[in-house]
Amino acid sequence: MKIGRLPALVRTTTFRLALLHASIFILFSASLLAYLYYETAGHLGRQAEAELNAEFGELSAAYRGGGLDRLKQAVTERREARGKFFYLLLDGSGQKIEGDFDVLPLTSAPLGQVVEVNFEYDARTIQGQPSRRSAEGRISRLSEGGVLMVAYDVGELGEMNRRITEVVWRSAAVGFVLSLIGGVVISRSAAQRAEQLAKTTEGVMGGDLTRRAPVFGSGDEFDRLSEQLNAMLAKLERLVISSRSAGDSIAHDLRSPLTRLRNRLEAGLRDTDKDGPRAALVRSIDDVDGVLDTFNAILRLSRVQAGATGSFRRTNVTGITDELAELYQPVCEEKRLAFNYSPQGDLFVLADRDLIAQAMSNLMDNAVKYTPEGGAIRLEARRVSDGDVELVVVDTGPGIPPDDRERAVERFVRLEQSRSQPGSGLGLSLASAVAEAHSGKLVLGDGGGPPTRPGLSVTLRLPAA
């Protein structure tokens, strides 16, 4: 039968787990009971067997030593000793010579061989009641003709065997039922947790991004799974909200240049621009270029975020910062900013040179833009204690208040104070996306300046190669 056609109950993990649980339990208890049986009933049986062997061996020795007469004598002696064994000795013609029975219970064995027999016989209890009892024994054909049988009563032994066997089977049955119940109980609780997770994801798929899976604080696998799921949902929610607000921001950011562009073109058309229609066109082109730059930045950011770009190879990031320091030093001097670059030897990580260079260039651009004249910018490249590499840009500008730092990295967020500055508002987002593309992160911090002008430190942290 195909899995898909199984009834619903059988398909549930609960049922399968319960079944598995019961099977394993049965396997274990069966082994245990088998061992128990082997050590009790089995042991008694083996002991009786060994005694029978010894008895038979002694009689055989007597026969070999003194023939039928000696054997007969031995059997007589033993019968009188009233041991646990019964005997029967027949002559070559099948006539009883000596013994507890009158006839052989089974056909005689072939010459020289020993045959095991199980048979029943009539006996009398101590009270004199007739009873039918079972016995086990051996029959051997003697070389001169004649037959010897030695047997013992298995009544007691059989009873014990029977009871042990019965107990074993009963425990197995009870164990099976109990383990099935246990399995259902245990796996039902697991199934309930799974069901809760399923409900959460269903809710989220239904559009409720605020749904979270319950965490019970037990720290078990389900709690861990729930926590992971919740973290993922939180990230998803943030992304959805940020892309929603990114849409708004794009509209907002583009509306003003487009409006300006429209007005310029209109002024050019009516020839009301103070510098004439030509100048209006020239400035219109600048506006359009600005819009295109924003679009390009959005596209590039999306590609980096989607991991669709970049070739990652072992790269010495100090080489990148060396070049950037050289590229930015003159512009810093131009703006009377003290520029300090302190590399720390070769730092190899798995990285895409162009992406890292662009991210760091964005950070340097920001530092140059926001640090007032007379300030200072520091570029650092260092390896921290756990082997990660940090590329840091520190400035003495206004900084970003701790509460705003997380938001500052989001797409298009330009904090109020920076609205007047040119730029797409995507510089930090791109740097952050580049960090994430390298499995690293972008950390914003205090620049270490006085409270009025704390400055900003931006750290691009890349994991050790």
Partner: protein, 223 residues
């Protein structure tokens, strides 16, 4: 220069043709890959401007076929795909330069003219000379009117690029790509500052300036 533009978007093609005509170049336009390839093979062109995405045969394939058939005119790719790996594909297909849409007309003209220069004047040389400015590529020295000028390594490379394209407009993006090997535009005027420093070294003590700023386009080194 005689330039063939292979571009399926009629408006874009007309724009490229207009811009290049205005700069004094003769332009033929072709709207699809197949006929563009035939025309490029048979016509005698100084440069090819090829859109990367074409109906029928894409730009990469077109240029590969052209090169395999022995075509040697330098080629500029136009493409909306601007990541480094796209550029690498373009160069591997036999392209000489790669310009990402959208671009400024001055950028296009500068790139095409730089291509023409490469085709005719890019013979191995050890000395460059523009006006009284002389560069010795082996000794890594620069003199102007016999007077030695000390340059940082990057300034040397910057000047070398400008001298190799003397008389042509060179854009900031071209400088970033060819001198710094960066394929993005910084938001600050880093390139301008570097160029003005170089200008300070080569023009400051001389009457006639060599390094000119072309408004809205870039720079031109000219005797």
């Amino acid at each position: 220069m005689r330039v063939i533009v292979i571009e399926d978007d009629a408006d874009a093609a007309a724009f490229v043709k207009g811009v290049l005509n205005e700069a004094g170049h003769a332009v033929d336009v072709c709207g699809d890959g197949e006929s563009g390839l035939n025309k490029a093979r048979t016509g005698d062109y100084d440069a090819l401007v090829v859109d990367r995405m074409l109906p029928g045969m894409d730009g990469l394939k077109l240029l590969k076929s052209y090169r395999d058939a022995g075509g040697r005119a330098p080629a500029l790719f136009l493409s909306a795909l601007g990541e480094v790996d796209h550029r690498v594909e373009g160069l591997q297909a036999g392209g000489d330069d790669y310009l990402v849409k959208p671009y400024a007309p001055s950028e296009l003209v500068a790139r095409v003219e730089a291509l023409g220069r490469r085709a005719t004047g890019d013979i191995p040389t050890t000395k460059l000379s523009v006006g009284g400015l002389e560069m010795d590529l082996l000794a890594r020295t620069v003199h102007r009117d016999g007077q030695k000028i000390d340059l940082q390594p990057r300034e040397f490379r910057l000047l070398e690029f400008l001298m190799r394209h003397a008389g042509q407009v060179v854009t900031r993006t071209m400088l970033l790509e060819k001198v710094w090997d960066y394929h993005f535009d910084p938001q600050t005027n880093v390139i301008d500052v570097h160029v003005s420093r170089l200008r300070g070294k080569i023009d400051k003590d001389f009457e006639r300036p060599l390094l000119h700023t072309v408004r809205g386009a870039g720079y031109r080194l000219e005797a």
